[in-house]
Symmetry: C4
Subunit: 381 residues, 4 copies
């Protein structure tokens, strides 16, 4: 039909559309190594907890750190806006769906307090955990020095889409190379989902890149502004950029898939797509230790004029330890994530994350049609 | 299997099957320019309101014009058939689903009154808005002169499918080059969805082309006659024709995607597919100012022998201003459409609509499977 | 992943996966010609009524013939097994779903009566209609002579899959070239769905070929034996075989798409895929004149050991005339099929069926997602 | 979008996405030969019953053998852990869904008794059936000698994924060439789903290979660890490996598709994809003779730390004979599997399984949309 092509469009893939292919050697799960290193910090599990109010408060950060992961505290959330965030979080959990967006808009219009930033960071450090905190690009210049003075170990600069270049008339954009020099600590930036943007960001001197625009359970960016790249494709592209940048500079920048991971299966696929670590939200929001009380909502949900998000009822299903390491009697992949990762690696012949990057992946939409013939049992009296 | 191919068939795409890819530069929404120009008329927002009875009456046209858009009044709808259309519209809203098609068939069999055409146009002009009106090809010769005398500013000639050539025994087809000369005002023609038909229509001297056959929420053309091209593919092809015609003639004919747009996401995708402007129905039918009282139905729904359409209950969700500019607490993309467009453009490195045409697009079916694990909250007590 | 390929698999398409593309010229529906000719018989509408007990009895055959179509009477159904088929049909309509398959198995084990064959054919001839009857290959040698003596005009030899060659130890297979010579009347054979099988069948001397294995609403062949080719692909391949055979022999064998057509849209698509005529079941089972009383079931549903089918509740929605020619207030494409065909042809620049064969077709899965935002109105009080 | 590709991903297919294409010759079902031979054993039907506790106990193994198939007794299930497995099976059937996984974890922690292994094997041999038993790789060295002494005829070594090479620190992996020599009986190994792993396994001296990772009705491997290859693609690849190995060595290793087969249609497709035999679970769990009492669950469902599976309510629908040979009044393909296989072969021009390997297959997603227009009848009063 077309005589002249206006533009080419390529197919992109998400977690549910792919599967991993077993390898030619099987490896016992206990023989796998899943360490993740950023500069001088090494985590024994390659998982970051999302900088979201339903997931990370100081107590959660300490508990998660003890288990080997790294929780990121949102410096622009309820923890730094309210002396007593507990109250606010209860209110969010109690409010009916129809009113929750406007409630969030109200709650997040309260100013951020410098004093609370210092207090929260001090608490995490006192608890013995690595302290990572997140800020948005627009507030980085103001908040980063306060956080550094308070003793943060790692800085995460995060917004829906962050690029190395920004055009604005109202303020001078954040210059990442300057920031890296001033802060002098490991810096992770995001989110990003393409080869070229990833490459540009890596060249600014950062240590890690968050991958994912529009994929999370609590996110409606794609409906609201049409923008989004499914996570498998986004990770594949940014991992390619990482390898290209390594060749170019000799520096290895961590690729961290952020958003959309709900199960052990998704986790395994993210690593096979090229991730060095993952950042997860919903699976951790289900922990007893999570401050969200069984609910979860996104960072853009409280935008005053164009909110993007839904509050998701994830429920409280087990302890953080159980969710990460089992044992479990849940069979849908939402518990024992680390056991699942090690088992998946073993089946796919991967001794470590680098070998997991080489695992074969196929396109295989997960269509479950057994329901037509039989059904998972329910209500057995 | 085939030894000899009977015909080739290519894949086409709709709004829900694609997504936009963020660019390498982010731009503050307030730095974007979304003007749309047709000859001497420049709109500050690139949106036309559909020539449908559930959307445009004189009051709506004036209100929509004040906000920067252009509403098209249907000269063959209830506004020109009934002195008091209000009554008829109430009746449509009150009638049960099963009887509504035959009611519409009855209502639209009432003759069009010349006097009412003049009155409606005068009212819009008096209200200070640009006055655009629509007619079907078969009635154009009779109605266009009346509308011109009454002071219309722009003429829209519209049917399900309109081509530069028409074969009929009962009447001499409308000759578009003649019409363009006689009317002497900007003329927009539609609908159309292919490269070759678009090119032929552009060569008749028109100023804009409506793109879209069978995509709208209130349309069942595809079920009834099997015909339809999904909007992304249709817009891509007609935008290619526009660029080809520009090279051929030096004249830029506006490509206006019409139908199927329900959210800010769809809106952004239409522009990325090559649209210069969009014509929207359902999103505006939800406005307090819309004459449809929360309902919406299509132009072919009242065909006496072969009706195509459904009445859709869109509900009344906010003021026209809120739907276009927010602020909002709705997170599904149906409010603050202009905020969404500017935000989407900023994320995709587009300073204006022409740059939006260059944004990368991917094929990424929107499969939401989180429901299996969690669910958006409902009925929190 | 594969080092050596075991077999190639190609994509096939059904009605719901494609759509027609409007042409560059629009034609008034009343300017289209839809005649269908087999030897000396010309039908004014290119539609055959399926040889199914829920659709064709003698009265229906006469009524359908008067409207321009051709109904095929099944010589192995209830009409020739029972003096009073009315009673049996009532029983089928009254029986609960769970028992209906075994009831059908019982009903169809009653022997076929030669006398009833003659009576039914005589009745149709007396009513002034062209009389076409169907038999299965295994019974053709016995039943065809009886039917010929009784005055049939056309013979349809039909089973799930019929080929020019058959291997059996229990009986000498039906030799089609011999049959064609003996009968001396137009012969239509089916069903078939591939290029090579179609070509072989055409070479036996037949006049028409029924296309379609496993697509009908009342068919479960694909679930039971895994066999089936979606109708668009099947029709495209057999139409290619027809054109190849025409070149080879100078004879034009009619390609008749049989099964799976439910709407005017499907009908239009069948012709665009290369059909010269269609055979339809479910849409006609909805007629007041249909003997099935609002129900519909398939020919293989009563197989004594391996039944394939479901009884489908189609309801009774209008007169045969309304279903074929309208006018209608139904907007889902199931009424005014001929109006829909002529309108679709006009929009696609096709003056006759041969031109309809040249219409462009695209792959465009019909995903309706508006439900997420609005809904077709229901229960308006 | 990508400048450098991180990895290639290919499309894979499952049962519901393909269909078989009729051939140019039709063959009477009674003319087809479906024998399956492994070394000196020839089965008159090419079906193995899954080594699952819901399907095979000693009585079932004898009954299934009499009908021509081969049942595999799981030596690590309830039959060898409990004197009276009947009680345990009743408990599983009675327990509510939410508690069943932890119950299974408890039940399967009971030790395996050597004495029971001998008793069960003796019982099957006494019943006159070929006795095949299954063990996991980790337990093979201990259990295989006991089973051999007790008189087993064939050994199945099975786990989710089994490879020719295994890396472990806790034990010396199972060396398959050694096992084959020591046991001296036919050995079947699985599961496997790729060309290269299949080829390596074939080279160890085994006689048959089970194909399928993650496809069964009672399996959630893909959700939990992201691993799985749809059965059509897996079978196609392993069949290619079989042919390659035959060329290389002159030895024909049986390819046995295991898991995901629910209907006669699936069965036919497995053979067309290259299977020499199939192993089925759910369809047999529906037999009166099945020990699962209408329920079905998988081998990994009882994993103490990372359970994968769901208990599926399959119901009890008929005798084993009826499920295999009919006659039936069930039309969804779950009964008369052998009748369906022979009918499918006949329609596809296949006289035996080797000819079935050559049948054409198409990609044709089974989308049933008739529901929109009509519906299968329910609750007819």
């Amino acid at each position: 039909m077309p005589h002249l092509k206006f533009k080419e469009i390529e197919r992109a893939y998400g977690f549910d559309e792919v599967a991993l292919v077993p390898g030619d050697v099987t490896i016992n799960p206990d023989q796998t190594n899943i360490d993740f290193t950023v500069r001088d910090f090494t985590l024994s599990i390659p998982i970051l907890a999302s900088a979201m109010d339903a997931i990370v408060d100081t107590a959660f950060a300490i508990a998660f750190g003890k288990l080997g992961g790294l929780a990121v505290l949102n410096l622009e959330g309820v923890q730094t806006r309210y002396e007593n965030p507990e109250e606010v979080l209860s209110q969010i959990a109690r409010t009916p769906e129809k009113q929750v967006t406007s409630l969030l808009q109200r709650i997040y219009s309260e100013p951020i307090k410098d004093k609370l930033i210092s207090q929260r960071i001090a608490a995490i450090k006192k608890g013995g955990a690595i302290c990572a905190v997140s800020v948005t690009p627009a507030n980085t210049k103001r908040l980063a020095p306060i956080a550094k003075d308070a003793g943060m170990d790692m800085l995460v600069v995060q917004s829906t889409v962050t690029t190395a270049r920004h055009v604005s008339k109202s303020y001078r954009g954040l210059i990442l190379p300057e920031l890296c020099q001033q802060v002098g600590l490991p810096i992770i930036v995001g989110n990003c989902c393409t080869y070229s943007a990833a490459l540009e960001l890596m060249r600014t001197g950062i240590d890690g890149l968050l991958i994912g625009v529009g994929p999370g359970a609590a996110c409606t960016t794609r409906e609201v502004i049409g923008v989004g790249v499914p996570q498998i494709t986004a990770t594949l592209h940014c991992a390619a950029a990482r390898d290209a940048y390594l060749k170019e500079s000799g520096k290895y920048v961590a690729v961290i898939t952020d958003g959309g991971i709900r199960t052990g299966g998704d986790l395994c696929k993210a690593f096979a797509a090229g991730a060095d670590a993952v950042m997860i939200g919903s699976p951790l929001a289900q922990a007893t230790e999570a401050p969200g009380k069984g609910y979860h909502w996104g960072m853009s949900h409280s935008h005053p004029a164009l909110p993007r998000g839904t509050r998701v009822a994830v429920g409280t299903t087990g302890s953080l330890e159980q969710i990460l390491f089992g044992p479990t009697s849940v069979t849908n992949g939402t518990q024992n994530l680390i056991g699942a990762l090690r088992t998946g690696m073993g089946v796919c012949s991967a001794r470590d994350i680098k070998e997991m990057h080489k695992v074969k992946m196929i396109i295989a939409p997960s269509i479950k049609t057994e329901g037509k013939y039989f059904q998972a049992t329910q209500n057995v009296p």
